[in-house]
Amino acid sequence: MKCREERELLSGYLDGELNDEQRRKVERHLAECASCKKELEELKQLDEYVRTVEIEEPTREFVFSLTRKVMQNVKKKPRFSFFRLTPMLVPITVAILVIIVLANIDQPGKFVSLDDRVIYAETETTKRDLDLHVPELSVTRRTPAEAPKDKRTILAEKKASVAAPPSAPAVAKAKVSEEIGDKREAEGTAVSDAEERMEEISATDVEYVEELEIPRDIVVRAIVDSNGRILKVATGNSIVPEKDTVLENRLQGQQLKPPVIRGRRTQLYVDFTQKKEKKD
C-alpha cells in the first residue's frame, strides 16, 4: 500500500481542487501506477452513477404554487419575527396607544363626571410650559354698570397648576385670592385684567355670580365644559371633593372664559381656593 498518500489525493485530483504541488505529485504517480489509474477511473464512474439517478418530477402543486405557499407561510407569523427582532417596539407601541386614547378623552362634548375618581399629581407646571388659559370666574355685582372699583374677592391669580400625568383629565387650579385690605362692601369696577376680560365674555347673556365665599382650606371644584360653562360643583379638602348641591345650584350654568390647553378648547376641573393671607 505504498500508494496510500496518493490515493487520498485522488478524490481531490478528480475535483480539480489540489494545489500545484499535490497535482504534480499525483500526475507523476498516475503515470507509473496502473492500480491508482484504475482507481481514478472507478471514482469517475462513481460520480457518473450518482448523477444517473433520475430525479422524480416534482408535483404540479410544487411547481405552480410553492411560491404562494412559502409567502403565505412567511406572512402568517410576521408578528412573531417582528416582536422577536424589536422587542422594544411593544412597550413603545402600547405607550403611544395610551397617549392617543388619553389625548382624545378631553375632546369637547365629552363629560367627566364627579363620580369619576380623579387622581392627579400635584406637580406644579408653569403656565408657559402648558400654554394653559385658566378660566376665570367672574364675580361682580348684578349690575355691571356700577361695577365695583376695587378688585372684588374672587379669582385673581391664574397660577395654574395642572395635573401632570396624562391619565387624569386636565386639572387647573385657579387660586381664589382675597386681596388684603379689600372690603366686600366697597364698590368699584373690576380693575384686574382678568375681570375685564371676563366681563367682555360674560356681557352677553350671563348671569353673574354675586359673591362666592370660600372658607379657607376648602377646595371648590367645578367641572367646566369646553365652552366655559360650569357643569358641576363640589367642595371638600381632599383630592376627591364631595358634591355640593347648594353651591352647584348657585354656580351651575355660569359662564367662564372657555378653557384652552395647547390652543385647544377642553373640559377642565377648576379648583378655587381661598388664598391664605400673607403674614406680615
Binding site: 481531490g12 444517473t52 433520475e54 422524480e56 411560491t67 412559502v70 409567502m71
Partner: protein, 188 residues
C-alpha cells in the same frame, strides 16, 4: 409573474427593507435546483418538496443575517442542507421511493424493455446505496457531485475547514464504492 431580471442582491436588499414580495422571484429562481439537492438527500419526492418549502421559509426569516455580497444560493443551500440533516436524523431513515416517473419516461422512449428494466434496477440500487450513506457523506457528495460546488463553497456551506472537505469527500467516495459493490451496482 415572478420573472424578473433583478439580481439576487437587489432582491435581497428589497426584502431586507421590508418588501416581502421581492422574495418571490428568489423562490422561483431556486426552487428547482434546491429540489434536486433535497431529492438527492432524501430520495423521496414528498419529503424533498416539504424540505424545499421549509428551507425557503427559514431563509426568509433569517434574511437579516444574510451578508450582502455573498452568494445567495450557497447560503440557501446551507439552510436547506442543515434542515434536511436534522430531518433525516429525526426520522432516522431515508425512504427510497420507487421512481414511477422514470418508468413512464422509459416507456415513452419505446426502448428495449429488458434494457429498461435493467436501468430501473440499477438506479434503484444506486439510490439505495446513497440512502445507506451516513448523512454527512451523502450531503457532501450531493453538494460536490450534483451541485458541483467548489471545496471553498462547500466549506462555507457546511462550516468545515477546506481540508476536511477534501478528506471527507475522499472517505465518502470510498464508502459509496463499497456500498455499490454490496448492492450489486457493478453487476452487469
Amino acid at each position: 409573474m415572478y420573472n424578473t431580471i433583478e439580481s439576487d442582491e437587489t432582491l435581497i436588499k428589497r426584502v431586507k427593507k421590508g418588501d416581502c414580495d421581492a422574495f418571490c422571484p428568489l423562490v422561483e429562481r431556486y426552487k428547482m435546483p434546491l429540489y434536486k439537492v433535497m431529492y438527492r438527500m432524501v430520495y423521496n419526492r414528498d419529503d424533498a418538496e416539504d424540505l424545499v418549502e421549509e428551507a425557503f421559509v427559514k431563509a426568509f426569516r433569517a434574511i437579516s443575517r444574510f451578508e450582502i455580497g455573498r452568494p445567495f444560493y450557497a447560503w440557501l443551500c446551507r439552510i436547506a442542507v442543515n434542515n434536511a440533516i436534522n430531518y433525516i436524523r429525526k426520522e432516522r431513515r431515508v425512504q427510497v421511493q420507487p421512481i414511477e416517473t422514470l418508468e413512464y419516461k422509459l416507456v415513452a422512449k419505446k426502448g428495449n424493455p429488458v434494457e429498461m428494466t435493467r436501468q430501473k434496477l440499477l438506479q434503484e440500487r444506486i439510490a439505495s446505496a446513497m440512502a445507506k450513506l451516513p448523512e454527512d457523506y451523502r450531503t457532501i457528495l450531493v453538494l460536490r457531485v450534483e451541485e458541483e460546488f467548489s471545496y471553498d463553497e462547500i466549506s462555507k456551506i457546511l462550516k468545515i475547514p477546506k481540508g476536511t472537505v477534501m478528506s471527507r469527500l475522499a472517505r465518502a467516495r470510498q464508502k459509496l464504492k463499497e456500498l455499490f459493490k454490496e448492492m450489486g451496482v457493478y453487476q452487469k
